[in-house]
């Protein structure tokens, strides 16, 4: 195990640092996304200013909201299946925390360096479906159940194109380890020019588009927010939740948006790295140590750009009808991503 920043830290210290880092890596992006995009950008796109009272420009509004939620009554429906009802939001949030574990933030600044990194990420992201189904079923409410079932159908349908879109990147990089995918992009070159490295957003553009659409659907953001459609299902599986249990769902939603954006930036935009040619690095070992500090900032910036895209789409389009939503996944996205994989594989073998 490499010593972080070439300081000698004992094993338990590193573990503790990683746990704290994981908390920061989940909650900080979630808070920033909620304030910058949900509060401010959405308001500006609707020609209003959004929250302005709490703190300068309303920047402390999120804390006010959290305080409000924490002091609300914790209501549980009489007929609800109490243990399942209580577990559901925790499972959704747990999936987010498990997801952030594989995102690399720098040459040594990672939580775990799994050999099957991206595969693991796809696997744990599917755990949240369970939480949503549990929430929908245990609420003893028809709307919630319908919302949960819709969410499950949607998440299964869109997980497939997501996996397939990632497959193109994995074929091109020749590895499932996220750290090595980052290195492959930044150390690579396009047509002999290595100034920009080889971010896969260019070579895998189709995959990038499919992946972004799929994560939009995985996050149940508009236009794919059929499961929580407030005009027909009140708010789907979240209807019966209040107080801090709703807060956990809320944090889970936006933290997952941030983590998915981080994974997308790692897969397609070069992650924590800058093109290695800028500083004359050739491989992972020659990367200098300050990237451990600069890396998280670079990932954060790329994440904000991608989240801006997600939220921009969210605030622009009206929602799909349920049948359109399923047809879009099965008849357009999956064939497109399959064709992308085939093309990538053929090109990979040829060159």
């Amino acid at each position: 195990m490499n010593a972080l920043l070439s300081i000698d830290i004992p094993y338990w210290g590193q573990s503790l640092l990683r746990v704290l880092g994981g908390l920061v890596a989940v909650l900080l992006p979630a808070g920033t996304i909620v304030y910058v995009f949900l509060f401010k950008m959405m308001s500006f796109m609707q020609s209003r200013l959004g929250p302005m009272e709490a703190g300068p420009q309303g920047s402390l509004q999120l804390f006010a909201e959290v305080g409000k939620w924490l002091q609300k009554e914790d209501i549980q429906p009489t007929n609800a299946d109490k243990p399942v009802f209580k577990m559901a939001p925790i499972i959704v949030l747990m999936s987010t925390f498990l997801l952030v574990v594989v995102v690399p933030f720098g040459p040594d600044a990672w939580f775990t360096d799994l050999e099957t990194g991206i595969f693991y990420a796809l696997a744990v992201s599917s755990i949240s479906v369970l939480g949503i189904l549990m929430a929908g079923w245990s609420s003893a409410n028809k709307y919630s159940l319908l919302g949960g079932l819709r969410a499950a159908g949607q998440l299964i349908a869109y997980e497939l194109p997501m996996v397939l879109a990632v497959m193109g990147v994995v074929i091109q990089a020749g590895t499932m380890n996220l750290q090595q995918i980052v290195v492959a992009q930044n150390a690579g070159s396009m047509f002999g020019i290595d100034t920009f490295g080889n971010p896969y957003v260019i070579t895998q553009f189709v995959g990038f588009i499919v992946f972004m659409i799929a994560i939009q659907a995985e996050l149940t953001q508009a236009p794919f927010d059929m499961p929580i459609a407030e005009s027909e299902l009140v708010s789907g599986y979240m209807t019966e939740y209040s107080g801090f249990r709703f807060l956990i769902f809320f944090i889970g939603e936006f933290a997952t948006a941030g983590v998915f954006a981080m994974i997308a930036s790692t897969l397609f935009l070069g992650g924590w790295g800058v093109p290695f040619a800028w500083f004359g690095w050739t491989s992972m070992d020659s990367v200098s140590n300050w990237m451990n500090v600069a890396g998280p900032l670079i990932v954060f910036t790329k994440m904000m750009v991608l989240t801006f895209l997600i939220m921009w789409v969210r605030f622009t389009y009206p929602r799909f009808r349920e049948d359109q939503l399923q047809r879009f996944a099965w008849k357009i996205l999956i064939p497109v991503s399959l064709a992308n994989i085939m093309l990538t594989a053929v090109l990979k073998v040829m060159f």
Partner: protein
């Protein structure tokens, strides 16, 4: 390190056994499915202990992410009552206990007889993902193709069966 692994094994094994017993005794179908999730997650953890990372991740992706969601989906669509559900067991359900115990006794005797106190190779070569892919696309290519056809047939069959008309 080995002690830590053994403690981890014991905890996960206990959780798995409790979960498995709850799966076959609970009186609510959805609770049964959720306990099965616990067992499957425990199995994935055991695979990690056995240095089979890829299989563990596949277990989570396929079993928890797809199969169990399908199970829950199916049960919630058909009978999703909250609370106890009578009539899940056969009238002769007590027959199952001696059968299971006898089977376990036979298997335990056989296992202890043949493996005794043999230890896992602690420095054994760890199988990595590339080896598995070499296996699948090398000697096991034909079974892999057959498996793809089985999956295709299952997909078509499931659609044909579940169609309304």
């Amino acid at each position: 390190m080995l002690i830590a692994q053994n403690i981890g094994f014991a905890i996960i094994a206990a959780i798995m056994i409790v979960g498995a017993i709850r799966v076959v005794t609970t009186s609510n179908v959805v609770h049964g499915a959720l306990w099965l999730v616990v067992v499957l997650a425990g199995a994935a953890a055991q695979y990690v202990l056995l240095a089979a990372e890829f299989v563990a991740v596949t277990q989570v992706l396929v079993y928890i992410g797809a199969v169990m969601v399908l199970f829950l989906f199916g049960t919630m669509l058909t009978r999703s009552r909250i609370g106890r559900d009578s009539g899940l067991n056969n009238t002769y359900w007590k027959m199952g206990i001696p059968v299971a115990l006898a089977l376990f006794a036979a298997m335990a005797i056989a296992l202890i007889d043949s493996f005794g106190s043999e230890k896992m190779p602690s420095d054994g070569s760890i199988v990595n993902t590339q080896q598995i892919s070499d296996q699948i696309f090398g000697p096991y290519l034909l079974p892999f193709w057959a498996l793809s056809f089985v999956l295709l047939a299952a997909v078509i069959g499931a659609i044909v069966l579940a169609r309304k008309d």
